[in-house]
Amino acid sequence: MPNFIMSYLNSKDAITPGAAGSQFWALVYVFIIFTGVSVAVMAMNWLERKALAHFQIRLGPMRVGPHGLLQPIADAIKLMLKEDIIPAEADQFVFWVAPLIGLLAAFTVYTVIPFGPSQAVSDMNIGILFMLGVSSLGVLGIVVAGWASNSHYPLIGALRSSAQMVSYEVAMGLAVVSAILMTSLNATGTGTLSMIGIVQAQQQQGVWFIFKFFPLGLIAFGIFAIAMIAETNRAPFDMAEAESELTAGYHTEYSGLRWSLFMLAEYAAMIAVSSIAVALWLGGWMRPFPNLLNAPAWDFIFSLFPALTFFGLAAIATVGVVRMPAHSFFKIQRIGLAAFAALLGFIALVLLVIAIAGRSADASVAARFREGIDYVYWFVFKVAIFMYLFIWYRATWPRYRFDQLMKIGWKVMLPISLVVLIMTAIVGVLVS
């Protein structure tokens, strides 16, 4: 095999392809992440509709595929086939380019998300700054979309959402800075902005930053968790697309594929900000209790989790197969769901085999593969919790009014995050 493929695989130290300079593997990672995120967005779409439906005592999509599993695909096809409408008075070029800006910003962020110590496209020295900066570019897409539609509601929606995102970025940034301050509590006293470095700092200090300097870390995390909902324009801060006030906000005039690009960008941004929260406060790729339960046996037990999760999903699907009414109408659905269950079971089996084959802690390929899967699994697991919370919030809470939102951002979150930042610095100096 060519050198440029193998040299990265053969290198012994865990390093990201970007840092190793392997452009081939960087591209491979980019493709994997792109597909992964697209699939995650589709799954999230299905999950949101299903979970929201069950919150609201209804069933949600049930027709397209068993339990509506194929609904996102059907939706995607529908949206792609829809007529592409550009309003007559709209600025054609800008209207066309606006969704792409949002999408690009949302996806570019993924280059520095640390799924594992070497499971990221690149480990930038300025990782967190890059993430926050690029994700703040997404607002340009929204503003420009609202303007290009040449209509009142989209413009108001765009101005609202950009004002909202800009003001919450301040509190968000301060919360992030207090987490970065915590990374500097090491021997040399220099912190890091690298995403991987931040997670490794938590590893070295033996504590997730959410529990560091209790309750300072928790408060900073809370501020970030609130600000990230506002950043992604989700309920209860979904002023930009407040249906009852602005019909659909900045994307009122959009339809079809372009609209779906906005949705894709929104969900991708949700996953991205959740990843920041996970990496900064929840220990990133680390499994629970890495220093309390650190025997190799525990390593092995926790490495079974990915397989168990998929076994659980397969079991749920199997229950679905069994409970499906015994009517010939449901025959195809039953076969489909059974096949899906089998697929999940197969994945679980593969994961189980990998977990068992790679249980030794040496640097064999299987062991490295097992480790990689563990890292990605725990990271995705933590992000998935946030995704569920996003849905939960939406089902439970009414919407804030715009001025109240601004008031919270500037008069509550900003002072608290400043105080937390200062307190963190003081406590950090006193401790070290």
Binding site: N125, V134, L140
Partner: protein
């Protein structure tokens, strides 16, 4: 990608720096920057100009990364592309651009302005042609991984010592404060 280049990249890794500086990237980014810079000053519609300017800024960000200045690049994205351009777009939406885009776009003195700019260009060209020999033809690789820490050291000082630029940095923050206050006061609606 040829193996020779790749081995060069690998040696770059060993030297402890990332191999971002390939000529290809430079030409693409530089071309993008200049082309969209041209669009900025020629577009009729201010929003188009702003979008072109964003492209220029991002291309220049890429050039910064090639120059081993990741922190400046991050600041460029954060402050310029994210902040200042958003401000520009806000203002463009507030002022009535439809009328101004139908107006005459260039002022009456445009030939003079163009001539002056051409003179400036000529000056640059002369300076570059005559003085090319004066530029040392070297590119020193800066340590990228500690770039942020070093800049922080210069701005804030380190190990109990004031940084070289700490005072200037504080003055700059004062300048920003004054600018914010000025902007707020100027744009505040007057009580009627």
């Amino acid at each position: 990608m040829n193996p020779a280049l790749n081995s060069g990249l690998n040696s770059a890794v060993n030297a402890g720096m990332a191999p971002v500086a390939t000529p290809w990237f430079f030409y693409v980014l530089a071309g993008l920057a200049v082309a969209s810079g041209l669009l900025v000053i020629t577009r009729r519609n201010a929003v188009h100009s702003a979008l072109a300017l964003i492209v220029t800024l991002l291309a220049v960000t890429g050039l910064y990364l090639m120059l081993y200045a990741p922190f400046v690049a991050a600041v460029q994205i954060f402050v310029y592309a994210g902040g200042i351009m958003l401000l520009f777009l806000f203002v463009i939406m507030l002022v009535n651009i439809e009328r101004s885009s139908k107006d005459r776009q260039f002022n009456r003195m445009w030939p003079v302005g163009l001539a002056a700019a051409c003179a400036l260009l000529a000056l640059f060209v002369t300076a570059f042609v005559k003085g090319k020999a004066l530029f040392p033809d070297r590119m020193i690789s800066l340590p990228e991984s500690s770039n942020t820490q070093q800049i922080a050291g210069m701005l804030y000082g380190e190990a109990g010592r004031m940084g070289e630029y700490t005072f200037a940095f504080e003055i700059a923050s004062l300048l920003l404060l004054v600018a914010i206050l000025g902007a707020v006061i100027m744009t505040k609606k007057k009580k009627i």
